[in-house]
Symmetry: C2
Subunit: 436 residues, 2 copies
């Protein structure tokens, strides 16, 4: 058997300790599959003395994790520290500059600096791998880099944030409102103490930008992702969606559309959507993630599994290490960085979609006439409409409608006509509908 | 860019013409991803003059496909002829013997001769790839070889035959009986003129044997797969399952269990099963395939997509070619053949499962007492039981029950007690239940 692959591991949080445990538990079968032993030689973390329930005595310790890159006995650095910049980025740069391979679970760093790091890796022909950065244990980076490599992809979309999916599917099961379920999720460890990045869609946006770059051969463009979180989705919306045959999920979606002059443009969006109960994503409950890739020859492929957690994320990190031990390097984004296309963001106004709109209105005569007139004037065709008094009686009333397919900008125009109307007591909620 | 990867293509049926079309349609993006052009240089098929709707004039023609292996201008042979032995096997052997890579969609050949061919490939360090042999366009061979490579797998199971899944889900939707739906499926092209291999579970058994070898590091053992087809499943069973909260699917399942002396044994089975409507496989309809892999760190992963057809299968063939162009070779079964373990088949009698049993009985007093006494005497505990007269009245009656979890052998013992009973007018149908 060949020489061991010698690993320097930075970060001993949940995922880092998971990697240590996994390499120990599955030691022999990993060596058989990799063709050589995977051996941690040095580790680094903030606090040397914290009890993590694992034995670190066999590993050298580095107080400064940047030193891992410089060690002569380290072949590959695993970065599990997190943060788009700062020490993680410094470590990544140093590792690649020394011609060593880098494995990371850091979606923010890849979303912001992936191209720079990939270029550095390509220059020295070393691996930069980040399977664990997207959708936890699901091998979807590999799925797009290699599994669907023969296809021009039409769309990539899915459920990329387990926290939001847990919250939405629990709201669905219990009828409880957002704030209540979020608090429960925090108690249960499905949501962080500061959940902003999750519930505002930023985490899903990081992951989407990475998948879009790989799938469409585009230069990664995180800034262009338009993300809307789930904080405005109410229990009433979920009940209404259910009655209409839908569930609500936070969907990250990317596709390529011809812009003016026919140059391809990249649409990247994270939005809560109404998902038809006939669609495979509607059955994805709890903290599960799922990604759909639609290829021009493969048709629709679905990858589903645990999107986070110690075991699944460690599984993805170690799969990358096994690839490296097998000497499977390849361009990090499937195509060398120099050949990735810079695609401007899609002007989305002309996109045709069917939309759910929920108005919260004062309970008085003429409100429905006002809303439906605005729809008519903006050219929005209504497929179904429900008006419903609030359970607590009096006060506000809910008007929910589903539009026929039409350009997004028409709905926007209708809402502009209603802007400032005294009939509306809250901002309307607009959710696109995913039917197939 | 590097030199083109030069392809010799044997077989110009549906999949072969699909590969020609795919390499042409996605030519540029494939070259970008592969780092070199993928170029067909020579083809071979039975009939040179048949109109396939594709232009073959740019390729050399070989009447004898075995010559493809010998051509100096061919780097890799794609075998899409089919058949476990005969010309396909001869071509595969010759190709590998000459130190050339082989890509095949031939599940029967890999199930029967995969180890011999993999050894030949490993000896010369060339690729043997067969993504298209299992589950069409779903990258599940790669998923198990590489995506879950860090895991000890606990179970691998799924829906591996699109014909059976089309028939069962159509029976479910329409209430029609097996024979009628099969005839429709044949008209629509979802079933072959001779559907035996599909409906008897042989096709799924081929695929399961391949996945089990990769997933469990076992020497492939097709002969040990116990396969039961779907011909005994009636419309009444599907209706009964539905009422109990299940659908019926043909499930291929493999797992490893400790045998006597603790040596690992391999269970490989293809059986129609009752699948809980809560389980992700229950939503897999039509000719779709899906595979679940449960890893000790990854948890449950699901891969789903089109299991057959020109586009999806060609997508898998070309993904293999791109891997080869990228110089990603690796052991065909993830672990070198010499290290694969020979695992004896599991003695399944002690397996604990919950079971659906359907009896067709004469409508006369005492029948229920006879059946339930046999269950009691064999130690089978009944969870629910329904007796239902046949719609056409008179004659036979259906008795369907679901047992509590218990050893498989107890159910077998109960049926042996009832063997020869004049109360039973047909062979009972026993289907295991898949809950989670």
């Amino acid at each position: 058997m060949a020489e061991p692959l010698r690993i320097g591991l930075a970060g001993l949080g949940t995922v880092g300790t998971g990697v240590v445990r996994l390499l120990e538990t599955n030691h022999d079968l990993i060596a058989a599959r990799a063709g050589r032993e995977l051996k941690i030689v040095a580790v680094s973390a903030r606090d040397r003395n914290r009890d993590r329930g694992i034995d670190l005595s066999g590993f050298a310790w580095e107080d400064d994790m940047a030193n891992l890159a410089a060690r002569g006995d380290v072949d590959v650095v695993v970065e599990l520290v997190g943060g788009s910049d700062g020490p993680a980025l410094e470590l990544a740069r140093k590792t690649l500059a020394r011609g060593k391979a880098l494995v990371t679970a850091n979606k923010a760093m890849i979303a912001h600096h992936g191209l720079e790091l990939a270029e550095a890796a390509e220059e020295r022909d070393v691996a930069l791998k980040f399977e664990a950065a997207v959708a936890g244990g699901i091998p979807v980076v590999k799925g797009l880099r290699e599994g669907t490599s023969a296809n021009a992809l039409e769309r990539i979309y899915g459920i990329l944030n387990g926290t939001c999916n847990y919250i939405l599917s629990t709201m669905e099961d219990t009828g409880a409102d957002f704030a209540e379920v979020l608090a429960d999720a925090q108690r249960l460890g499905y949501a962080e103490a500061d959940p902003t990045f999750d519930i505002e869609g930023v985490d899903a946006a990081h992951k989407l930008a990475i998948l879009a770059a790989i799938g469409f051969g585009a230069r990664i463009d995180f800034e262009a992702v338009r993300a809307t979180g789930i904080t405005s989705v109410g229990a009433a919306d979920i009940a209404q969606a259910d009655a209409l045959g839908y569930v609500i999920r936070l969907i990250a979606m990317a596709d390529v559309e011809p812009g003016e002059n026919g140059t391809p443009t990249l649409l990247q969006r994270v939005r809560p959507c109404l998902v038809s109960k006939e669609h495979p994503l509607s059955g994805v409950d709890g903290p599960t993630n799922a990604v759909v890739a639609e290829g021009n020859f493969s048709g629709r492929l679905l990858f589903q599994g645990a999107g986070a957690g110690e075991g699944p994320t460690a599984s993805a990190v170690v799969a990358d290490l096994i690839d490296i031990a097998r000497d499977e390097v390849g361009a990090p984004f499937s195509i060398p960085v120099a050949q990735l296309k810079a695609m401007p963001p899609t002007e989305s106004g002309h996109r045709i979609e069917s939309t759910y709109i929920r108005f919260t209105v004062a309970d008085r005569p003429g409100v429905l006439a006002e809303i439906t007139a605005a729809m008519r004037d903006a050219g929005v065709s209504i497929e179904s409409l429900i008006q419903k008094g609030r359970a607590e009686g009096g006060g506000d009333v809910l008007v929910a409608m589903v539009t026929h397919e039409g350009p997004e900008r028409s709905v926007r125009a209708a809402l502009e006509l209603l802007d400032g109307s005294e009939s509306l007591t809250a901002q309307p909620l607009v959710l696109p509908i995913l039917r197939d």
